[in-house]
């Protein structure tokens, strides 16, 4: 079920609203993609990493002598070696410091301890196995609440005399006094602890790079798999500058190639990248580093790990009046979150969700523990998943507590369409929305009334079936420059369009596809604006020597920011084309009107020039005084974020004997404003739903009390297969963003944000009559069985 948008261009042109087949696919389906491990340079060396078995230990000594005897092993680099170059620490995107290699102390299991450089992948691995490190184990803190105790050992003594604590920062938003007063005055108050565990994006391609320092040309080329190549280039330049190395930003070229999935995990700078650069600098040869899956799962940045305590107040009829949320955020041993600098807890304060109430207060405290760095997004916009999970769980608990249907309660609390733009009590201005329409559509698609009847009948028979709703609001498109930056770099994004004389187009963008289909959708934006067919438009990105500076693709910001830049750049071209057309038509520019790729004289539709004719004239017949060429660049600073939303309904059945949860049906109605490519939007939603389904039921990185990662391979970190994954049913409503040039919002992450609470709400709904109020994700069979067992449910 979908509210259709009528395309304004022909299918041949393929502008917005057409399901244009992807331009990038021919290379992928023929095995001709070029991913990072496909890049091999002449004379290349291999880097592999010795990792710590301990989560916290002193390094007494490192003995590389056996490793150096292995044929092919060229060098072993330790923290002490890097210390000589001041390269043993590097800044994180959150402004904290992270070790490249430790000089004396390791802080988490699988932390990098030494790097082996060898002539082959196999020799490097043998070298790693032969390096002997003598450790003295230290006490381990894996629980952030333990870390905050006054007598806890200080994990980061390097932070200076004023910061001898494991507390990293405190951040709050909203009005605490008003929230307290609202809760005190409420007829009904509910409170709930909710833990959202550590998970890992686990893109099927791991991270890696090939660093190529050319000592003669003093040029560093870093081939890598990064979602933010320009930011990486700047960070590298800063690190090199700090170390006094002769590597400057104009001599650094970051090149990304094809990326086998990102989801936030390929935003940070990992020690392996710096090590490969350092090794190439030291050897004068290209050095390749490719993670294996265990390294990826054990050492790359993680998502979530939020311990949330929420309180909500409401009238006895169920009108929400206040919300107060206190959160402990486990960041591991360093704060490496890719959050904007003013938002240490990301956009978590969008926690009031889709609901209209005045009083909210949110606070978050970041904490160090002996775990790898946390804080990447896992396919969401800076902590919005955590916020949505909390509010959607709380709303559901409220509904159940007062005996009101959860759909009805949502309907009665939604921000209404006429209230937009709507300012939340934590200060966000929502651009547009029609939440009731999306929920209504989802209820019709799934036959909500029928399901409730079926559930009542089944409950009579003792069968466990649950229905869960999530009506989420996302916050994407970081972001307006007055509030959003990473390491001081404002979060604009960019597009440069060049129209060649023969009417073919090259456009370069500052964002970076990892499968979203930028080569197609950005061409469609230009097709929409200028009337060139998509087949005549080539989109480039990911080469910092050629693409305009941009902050990259994460947090669903490509369409909201770079998409807007593309539309604006196209409009600059259209405007120049108008003057060219006026010259060619010997008419006044003011008398021309634009329709379907041509400028024509108002009232004389047969007097026109096509954009292709104009493009040729821009190089062959432009008027005196006008610059030749037809090019434009735009660096777009969005006036606001965009707020896509949706309503999801999920039906689950629970096996009483084993605790296994089966998602029987899942309906997702999304609204991402105007749609560029419906096929791609649907694909994004399918994928997002699956990455919401996965942590709801399967994925979790757990640690034992010694800080060992217990999910270090895909044998234990369980990605869902096609067998478990539901056959997603999708619907759309369209509520354009009023401030975006093409009325679009982001969509890649909505479903990952919205799906987990729908599933959690369904499972709790199935068990509510037994006295169950909350189950933390992942809702594994063992967890559900334990509850059934405790509640005395017979198989």
């Amino acid at each position: 079920m979908t509210i259709e948008m009528e395309p304004q261009t022909t299918p041949e042109v393929g502008g917005m609203g057409h399901s244009v087949k992807r331009k990038e696919d021919p290379r992928f389906i023929q095995g001709q993609g070029e991913y990072i491990d496909d890049v091999n340079l002449p004379g290349q060396l291999w880097l592999d990493i010795v990792r710590s078995p301990y989560a916290h230990a002193k390094i007494r000594s490192i003995d590389a002598s056996e490793a150096l005897k292995i044929p092919g092993v060229a060098a072993v680099i330790t923290g002490k070696d890097l210390e000589g170059y001041k390269l043993h620490w590097m800044p994180t995107l959150a402004g904290d410091m992270q070790m490249v290699l430790p000089v004396d102390t390791v802080m988490y299991q699988a932390q990098e301890v030494a790097a082996v450089i060898a002539t082959s992948r196999y020799a490097a691995a043998d070298g790693v196995a032969a390096v002997y490190v003598d450790y003295e184990p230290l006490p381990v803190i894996v629980d952030p609440f333990e870390a905050l105790k006054p007598d806890a050992i200080v994990l980061r003594p390097d932070k200076g005399p004023d910061k001898q604590t494991n507390h990293i920062w405190h951040w709050e938003s909203g009005d605490e006094a008003k929230a307290d007063a609202a809760l005190a005055a409420a007829d009904v108050t509910i409170s709930q602890d909710i833990y959202i565990p550590r998970i890992h994006v686990a893109s099927i391609e791991t991270c890696g790079c090939v660093a190529d320092w050319d000592p003669v040309r003093e040029q560093l080329t870093l081939h890598m798999t990064s979602q933010a190549p320009h930011a990486i280039r700047t960070v590298l330049a800063l690190v090199a500058g700090g170390a006094g190395l002769p590597i400057y930003e104009h001599n650094i070229r970051v090149k990304t190639h094809d990326i086998g999935g990102g989801f936030g995990g390929k935003v940070p700078v990992y020690p392996g990248y710096v090590l490969a650069v350092a090794a190439s600098f030291l050897t004068g040869k290209p050095v390749k580093w490719i993670e294996d899956r265990s390294e990826n799962l054990q050492a790359d940045s993680f998502a979530r790990d939020y311990h949330i305590h929420a309180e909500m107040g409401a009238t006895k009829e169920g009108k929400i009046t206040g919300l107060k949320v206190k959160t402990i955020a486990d960041h591991g041993y360093t704060d490496a979150a890719a959050d904007p600098s003013k938002f240490p807890a990301g956009l978590f304060n969008v926690i009031t969700g889709s609901y209209d109430f005045d009083n909210a207060f949110v606070e978050v405290d970041g904490v160090y523990t002996n775990k790898p760095p946390g804080g990447v997004a896992y396919r969401c916009s800076f902590r919005v998943t955590e916020a949505v999970h909390a509010i959607e769980r709380m709303v559901d608990i409220l509904a159940h507590d007062i005996g009101k249907d959860p759909a009805q309660l949502r309907m009665e609390n939604f921000i209404q369409p006429e209230q937009f733009p709507y300012t939340t009590p934590t200060g966000w201005e929502y651009d547009s929305g029609n939440y009731g329409a999306a929920l209504t559509m989802a209820m019709e698609m799934i036959d909500y009334e029928g399901l409730r009847k079926e559930q009542a009948e089944k409950r009579e028979r003792g069968e466990l079936m649950g229905i869960g709703i999530s009506s989420f609001t996302e916050i994407v498109g970081a972001g307006p420059s007055h509030t959003f930056d990473i390491l001081g770099i404002k979060m604009f994004d960019s597009c440069e369009i060049r129209v060649h004389p023969t009417g073919k187009v090259l456009a370069r963008i500052g964002v970076q596809t990892q499968g979203q289909g930028h080569e197609t959708t950005f061409a469609q934006i230009i097709a929409e604006e200028l009337g060139f067919p998509v087949s005549d438009i080539k989109i480039e990105y990911g080469d910092t020597d050629t693409a305009p500076y941009g902050l990259g693709t994460y947090a669903s910001r490509s369409t909201p920011v770079a998409g807007a830049a593309t539309a604006i750049a196209a409009r600059k071209i259209k405007e120049k084309a108008r003057h060219l057309a006026a010259h060619l038509l010997e008419a006044s520019a003011d008398d021309l009107e634009w329709t379907n790729g041509k400028w024509s004289v108002k009232g004389s539709p047969d007097r026109f020039k096509t954009i292709q004719e104009i493009a040729f004239a821009a190089y062959t017949n432009h008027p005196q005084g006008m610059e030749a060429g037809l090019e434009a660049v735009d660096y777009y600073d969005p006036p606001n974020l965009t707020f896509p939303f949706g309503s999801y309904i999920c039906v689950v059945d629970i096996d009483k004997g084993t605790g296994q949860v089966t998602v029987r049906r899942f309906v997702a109605v999304d609204d991402c404003g105007n749609i560029i490519n419906p096929m791609i939007v649907d694909g994004q939603i399918h994928g997002g739903l699956t990455m919401g389904f996965a942590p709801a039921l399967y994925e979790e990185i757990t640690y034992d009390e010694r800080g060992n990662n217990l999910a270090g391979t895909f044998m234990d970190y369980l990605l869902p297969t096609a067998m478990e994954t539901p056959a997603w049913e999708t619907g759309k409503t369209i509520t354009p963003s009023p401030h975006h040039p093409i009325g679009a919002k982001g969509v890649g992450e909505s479903a990952t944000v919205g799906a987990p609470p729908a599933i959690a709400n369904a499972v709790v709904d199935a068990l509510w009559h037994l006295g169950v109020r909350n189950i933390d994700i992942p809702m594994t069979p063992q967890k559900v069985w334990k509850i059934l067992h405790e509640k005395g449910v017979a198989p």
């Binding site: 002997y132 490190v133 010694r706 234990d716």
Partner: protein, 146 residues
Amino acid sequence: MLFSGTVQIDAPRARTWAFLIDPDKVSSCGPGVESVEIIDAANFKVRAKVGVGFISAKFVVNMTFAELTAPDKAVIKASGQAPGSAVDAVGSMLLSGPPEGPTTMDWSAEVDISGSLAGVGARLMEGTANKIVGQTFDCIKAKLEG
């Protein structure tokens, strides 16, 4: 992981005690020991191939007599490393019974495994560790009685 047990050893207390405080002898019962290097009276280094079935890893283990209270209590600390993994163990042995024997040995062992063995091998680890520890003390009994 904490394991404990009791073995009845048909040997005099003094001989049992002497066995326990002799690095070569006590090491001879360690799993898969290939060599023992004495560092000083309290410290010795063992190289061992530890495993179950054909699954095994080569460890370098630093052993220390943490407590020797003749003639009844010995505590041995072991800290061993294999590529990507580490094992830290504290074994306590308490002897009782008449001087001429049989000697009762109450033992306990706290074994902590770190690194990839703990992660990827978790499914196999507890049973394996339990078995290896048990075999060690059974071996002590067998050698003293044999």
